[in-house]
């Protein structure tokens, strides 16, 4: 890493560290009555709110949700529950990084788009501006955080068969009715 990159990374890590402090102080104002919180293994109420907001923007539909054949909303396919399970099942260092990225999205990255409010308090348009700023950021760690969060949320969304209609994807062959292809029997099968 060159000196410039080192400085950038240092600043980014400092921002993430500050975010951690901010996250500790600023965890009020979230919906603790959300019944899903009781079932979360890794995400707290405020993490859950951030992931919900993130998924709503990342996986926003290109048509009205009430239109015929519209894709499901991220909350219908329980993106947040998937993210929670993924984070919970990850090894501790990865879990820490993922939770830090969620915290940074809420408390630090809005500044990239000139926003002073936390991510969940912004309008959808401003949330989009934050995500666009992250994706196009010149700071490696910010882009990396965008990529990591996007991967997690997209995995949570497109894992659900209800989203596959958008793609005309017919899903796992093992679940399709017998047709032109006849799966071989595994030789160990009875």
């Amino acid at each position: 890493m060159n000196r410039r990159g080192f400085l950038r990374a240092g600043l980014a890590w400092a921002a993430l560290g500050a975010t951690g402090v901010a996250a500790l102080l600023r965890t009020s104002g979230y919906d603790r009555a959300d019944r899903r919180v009781a079932y979360m293994r890794a995400l707290s109420a405020w993490h859950l709110a951030v992931v919900d907001a993130l998924a709503d923007r990342m996986c926003a539909a290109d048509v009205d949700y009430d239109a015929p054949g519209a894709p499901p909303r991220p909350r219908e396919v329980e993106v947040a529950a998937f993210v929670d399970a993924f984070v919970a099942d990850s090894e501790p260092p990865i879990r820490r990084d993922l939770l830090a990225a969620i915290g940074a999205l809420e408390h630090a990255f809005p500044a990239l788009a000139g926003q002073v409010q936390r991510f969940t308090a912004l309008s959808p348009a401003r949330q989009d501006a934050v995500l666009a700023a992250m994706e196009g950021s010149s700071i490696d760690l910010v882009r990396g955080a965008f990529h990591g969060l996007k991967s997690l949320v997209m995995m949570g969304y497109y894992r659900d068969p209800r989203t596959w209609g958008v793609l005309a994807y017919d899903g796992p062959l093992v679940n399709r009715p017998a047709g032109g292809w006849v799966p071989l029997r595994y030789k160990g099968a009875s």
Binding site: M1, C59, K150, W164, L173
Partner: protein, 502 residues
């Protein structure tokens, strides 16, 4: 016997003539060779053992299960995703079964520049033949070329470029297209299916779900291996031969963590990864690229393995299932979903570099495995050449438009626009890069100053430590490495057997 470490209720100490760490292509070959020699070894594998019934073709379940760091392994600057396997069979469980021998030019280069002895083309011939026979390597039949690969074939033909059908190690393939998630039909002639059963029949013992944490040694002679289960149980193997076969990342990380003597700071260095970037072509007709054999055709027009060549790009197809595609397509929200609607009309190519950039493996906080890798200017130029070539092929094959998943996306509709793919497009983090072939971190050679192991695979400084995976390779291969890894393990096995006999 395969026993999961998760079943252990107490710490375990075993003795064995040898211990193999990691059961991918290399480790499985060595385990079989030891067993055939009447030396039933113990193997430690950090991942689980799977049967084809478990491969349910679901990305969100199989990727975390079959890949290191749940599929999230990245270079330390988060610029390149590094996909590596874990589990009994290693990456052979989920690779796309491409079979190419180590190129003659590469073997000769290793002898000439790095003093690798006894591993020239003639020396390796028997090992290649053995492995190709065991794995039932054959040319992919023409009717196994799916529309995505056919787009590559048609584009190459239209341009008059060099290319051809690839070989694979499948028997009874039905073309489900889910190779990268494990084969539910057991059609892969992989390490788990071909090599490990024989080793087990001959008395080898495998402990899955046990991560090797330390090589025990007295700085001159290896004494054993220590491992841990997820539940914290300790497994200790007392032995005088340890074979590192946990990949160019895992083997180097274990060597570093174990503080094997390394006076010239070679362990973990010289990492090559074959970084790959993708280009998608949008066709009017459905491609349905997720169906059929994923990779069956290659373009070698931009690959010349001569040492002084400036053609270092290997091109093949790179289709992904929905999640993989969603992650690679740039952007988010409504625009992203609109792009996803074109999923069945996409044909995707990858330009994979025969890289010269050298990264390294290091440990964060002394335990967490990290990869540092930055593409040098020469490799960035090659990536531009490669992406342009992919775009050219797709347009020649009839793509309505070509999309480079940069930020923002670069859409190209005419040949004249291809020059827009430039150095700025391939700057770090601007395009998604993926690497699936780490190599070179414990490389072999004559000189301890520039290598870690001898041409026999044995460590220069610690007797009884051998390496038998892709970390042996002094340079990039310029193509899929599985046959090279299998064959080098086969070729070096007699040295390991001799050491185990003591």
């Amino acid at each position: 016997m395969i026993r999961s470490g998760n079943e252990l209720t107490e710490d375990l100490v075993v003795e064995a003539p040898a211990c193999v760490v990691g059961l991918g292509a290399g480790g499985s070959v060595v385990l079989r060779a030891l067993a055939r020699a009447g030396l039933p070894a113990v193997a430690l594998e950090e991942g689980s053992d799977h049967t084809p019934f478990q491969f349910n073709q679901r990305e969100e379940q199989m990727i975390p299960e079959l890949f290191q760091e749940r599929g999230g392994r990245m270079t330390d600057d988060l610029a390149i995703q590094v996909l590596q396997g874990r589990g009994v069979g290693g990456s052979t469980i989920h690779n796309t079964n491409l079979c190419k021998r180590t190129p003659t030019e590469i073997l000769e280069l290793w002898a000439r520049r790095y003093g690798v002895e006894g591993c020239g083309p003639r020396d390796m011939e028997a090992a290649f033949q053995t492995i190709e026979r065991d794995l039932s390597v054959s040319r992919i039949p023409d009717d196994g070329i799916n529309p995505n690969n056919d787009a590559l074939r048609r584009g190459i033909a239209a341009l008059g470029w060099r290319g051809g059908v690839l070989s694979h190690n499948r028997v009874g393939c039905i073309g489900s297209g889910f190779c990268e998630l494990g084969c539910a039909y057991d059609a892969k002639r992989n390490a788990r299916k071909v090599l490990i059963p024989e080793a087990l029949d001959r008395g080898a013992r495998i402990f899955s779900d046990v991560r090797a944490t330390r090589i025990l040694h007295d700085r001159k002679q290896v004494l054993g291996v220590e491992g841990r289960t997820a539940g914290g149980r300790r497994v200790t193997v007392r032995t005088k031969v340890v074979v590192l076969a946990g990949s160019a990342v895992g083997s180097a990380a274990l060597a570093i963590a174990s503080e094997l003597p390394d006076p010239h700071l070679q362990q973990g260095e010289h990492l090559r990864i074959h970084p790959g970037g993708v280009v998608a072509g949008v066709f009017d007709q459905p491609i349905d690229g997720w169906k059929g054999i994923p990779q069956s055709y290659e373009c070698t027009e931009w690959l010349d393995l001569d040492e002084k060549s400036d053609k270092r790009v290997w091109i093949t197809t790179a289709f992904a299932h929905p999640i993989g595609t969603a992650v690679v397509l740039p952007g988010f929200g409504a625009a992203h979903m609109k792009s996803m609607r074109g999923y069945r009309h996409l044909a995707v190519l990858t330009a994979m570099l025969h890289d010269e950039s050298a990264g390294h493996v290091w440990l964060k906080d002394g335990t967490r495995t990290m990869l540092h890798y930055e593409m040098n200017e020469g490799d960035r130029r090659q990536m531009v050449i490669g992406l342009r070539a992919c775009a050219r092929i797709l347009l020649a094959a009839g793509a309505r438009e070509v999309v480079v998943p940069a930020v923002p996306p670069l859409t190209i509709r005419r040949e004249a626009e291809i020059e827009r793919i430039d150095a700025n497009v391939v700057r770090p983090h601007n395009i998604p890069l993926t690497a699936v072939h780490p190599m070179g971190t414990m490389r072999m050679g004559r000189e301890p100053k520039t290598s870690v192991v001898r041409s026999t695979g044995e460590h220069h400084h610690v007797r009884g430590v051998f390496v038998a995976d892709g970390s042996l390779f002094p340079t990039s291969l310029g193509g899929p490495p599985q046959i090279s890894i299998y064959a080098f393990a086969e070729h070096l096995s007699p040295h390991i057997v001799a050491a185990a006999r003591g």
